[in-house]
Symmetry: C2
Subunit: 141 residues, 2 copies
DNA sequence: TAACTAATGCAACATTGTTGCATTTAGAGA
DNA sequence: TCTCTAAATGCAACAATGTTGCATTAGTTA
């Protein structure tokens, strides 16, 4: 994604355009799949550790990135779709973790889900899946 | 659940029957929904903090309890079904977090899911949902 | 360019989870 | 029931992860 696009997204959310934010967005954007926090910290080593946390928070609140929780311990982040609103992420997708290469991917959901059970009213959901990713599966052939 | 049943489950997995393990299982069993780690620590305050972690681990590995991850920060635990095997949990259910009372429930999944997308082979999945639980929904009437 | 507010960096702290080691205890066998 | 051994426990120390306060710097608007 071009830097101007990233800037545009920041402007659209009334977030100031700073080098840190652009660096962070670029790192998230360039990474194939969702990027783990440790990887962000390594890529952005010159950024203060605390600033990294706060920058992530701002972008989460602004709806530019979202958490792609998959593993218990590590946290992953990915860019949001254009359509995502700040506090109402519309992610009808699956967070998929490859057992082989450990990458996290956001896959589209190809099916309508009917999750309401008994008196429980489901308003939002997330699917965490694991298995073998496209790249690893094709290598085995 | 009767204490004898809990003991039986421990025996079935070749896990020694200790007061700590019984206390932990009882706490998990009694709690409505999945119990958060902080609540376990509070309920079992006399148990060493480290022992709590290790006891949880033993029971996880033994397949007597499972993680019901839902929230980003806190970890939740619930008793497994009888059918669960040690390292191949068969949880075709939804981990549901009530937005109102914050409880975590394990709900059955009422639909077959077809998650395979492109070359991605899904081997296991978990669904995290949020909304309004039965109890909170009925109170609003 | 000036002024205001948000963002940053640093220090300190809080929480969560882990490791090593000495001691105690559950369970198997004599 | 007693003895023995490995597993479980408690404690201390450490490691990783995330948070708060505060002084300084930098983006944005007029």
């Amino acid at each position: 994604m071009r830097e101007e696009d990233l800037k545009q997204r920041l402007r659209a959310r009334n977030l100031r355009i700073t080098p840190n934010r652009l660096d962070l967005l670029t790192a998230v954007d360039r990474f194939v799949g969702a990027i783990p926090h440790t990887k962000l910290q390594a890529d952005l080593a010159s950024m203060d550790r605390v600033t990294l946390y706060r920058t992530i928070n701002s972008l989460l609140e602004g709806g530019l990135i979202h958490r792609a929780s998959a593993n218990e311990q590590e946290t992953y982040y990915a860019l949001c779709e254009d359509a995502c609103l700040a506090d109402a992420h519309q992610h009808q997708h699956i967070h998929f973790k490859c057992e082989n290469c450990s990458k996290i991917y956001c896959l589209p959901l190809q099916q309508d889900l009917h999750l309401n059970t008994g008196g429980f009213k489901v308003k939002a959901f997330e699917i965490l899946a694991s298995g073998q990713c496209e790249a690893c599966a094709s290598q085995e052939k």
